[in-house]
Symmetry: C2
Amino acid sequence: METPAAPLELDPRQRRAREAFENLRDRICAAFEAIEAEAGGAARFEFIPWEREDAGGEAGGGGVRGVMKGAVFEKVGVNVSTVGGVFSPEFAATIHGAESDPSFFATGISLVAHMANPHVPAVHMNLRFLVTTRCWFGGGADLNPPIPYAEDTRDFHAALEAACDTHGPGDYARFKAWADDYFWIPHREVRRGVGGIFFDHLEIEDDAGFVAHLAFVEAVGEAFLAAFPTIVRRRMREPFGAAERAAQLEWRGRYAEFNLVYDRGTLFGLKTGGNIDAILMSLPPVATWG
Amino acid sequence: METPAAPLELDPRQRRAREAFENLRDRICAAFEAIEAEAGGAARFEFIPWEREDAGGEAGGGGVRGVMKGAVFEKVGVNVSTVGGVFSPEFAATIHGAESDPSFFATGISLVAHMANPHVPAVHMNLRFLVTTRCWFGGGADLNPPIPYAEDTRDFHAALEAACDTHGPGDYARFKAWADDYFWIPHREVRRGVGGIFFDHLEIEDDAGFVAHLAFVEAVGEAFLAAFPTIVRRRMREPFGAAERAAQLEWRGRYAEFNLVYDRGTLFGLKTGGNIDAILMSLPPVATWG
């Protein structure tokens, strides 16, 4: 599905990055719908285009928010957004390469899945291409099991490690440590999950750099697509009771706290006139605080 | 119930303010337990003392967190905390009177009630006494109905207005406007409820000022105690169905967003080594994001 028309001129790199994210989104959604079908459900993604509001003179863009509520995927959101314009002065001061010139372009895919069965891990994946006076890729993926299984953690990390090892810009040890640092909830003194990778400001200087870095982030997306459905199928039929469901909902409260208090992607969306429903689609369908 | 012993020396004003807040807390808890009993429940407040952690050399204090989970009050938390010490340099720069000297003392009562019946409004009330190089009272109360009733809004505001009108430091029009401004969710472009009053930096210069301001904040507490139980009794037996419960839980998602993204009291607690369970007791027992 195409991003809706909006007054935003894309150069070839920007168009190429956006297409890569849209292509990945389509394949992930098909894979997740196939899992729902295997479980006997008929849930499908619903896609809702949105345009950027309060965009100002030079700004524009928008995106497509995809949501599926199924028997296995209690709520999964996949958003591809492509926006451009001018940061507010105070926000520009906090963004790489925007200190002197607040113009920006950003395209990215963001995915969060909250699962019905507490034995199946929740998951987050995000890939993005940013242009200010600098030009870089960022992204990451992390696994968030209410009930952790060493086998799932191992497989998820192994897929990401392989993607890093086969592409020049990848550095698994560094990106894993970055995820451990980023997905930390200071006021709880716990990690929000069992980690994964996180990376940002992977700068490109020329077309060759763009191609190499785009290949790397595409490989991260492919690693996610290879690893996560396998983990879901492994766990989605495990029986669970009220105590495990209650623990899952309480655990989701921690997840909501992280996203609302600390997550930079959430902040970025709120500060750049993003679509509220798309920004906050990461929030769990239901959560508890005891 | 007394605040637990902690290495914090209180001067007479600080002790007097703390005692006022503890006294108010005891009377509110008794009133809420009486409502539970009327509804045929046996729920009582559980009180959990806590001491301030990571307090550093000169710091100390703590508080008592009270929680009741009942048939009418799905979850109500009342915290009285009394803490002192030294702000971190970056946080001190944001606090009235702490720019040059980061020493502080704070005592306060904070209450949030989330109700079982969607027809009964949730509510928040907070009163506090702060000492830096300045010395002031702050506080407020606001009504948060998932399903608003004009009669409830009117009675709640009328009680607060009367408290303001009979005490010199009170200024209902200003404090009402301040609440409308404060309890605003920018990214949703909605208020979190139907308002009330909010005030801060009501500075005192001498003992007479302290007495007058303490009398005012005590009157706000009394107004809350007079108004809210009446509203609860008016609504708590109204029948409701699944659609109203679902709307209530979605509405609570907005409430959680406000408290985690914007609320200064939450930030103050997280930045001053407060008790996490006490700080986040304002979060709803269960919330949904559609």
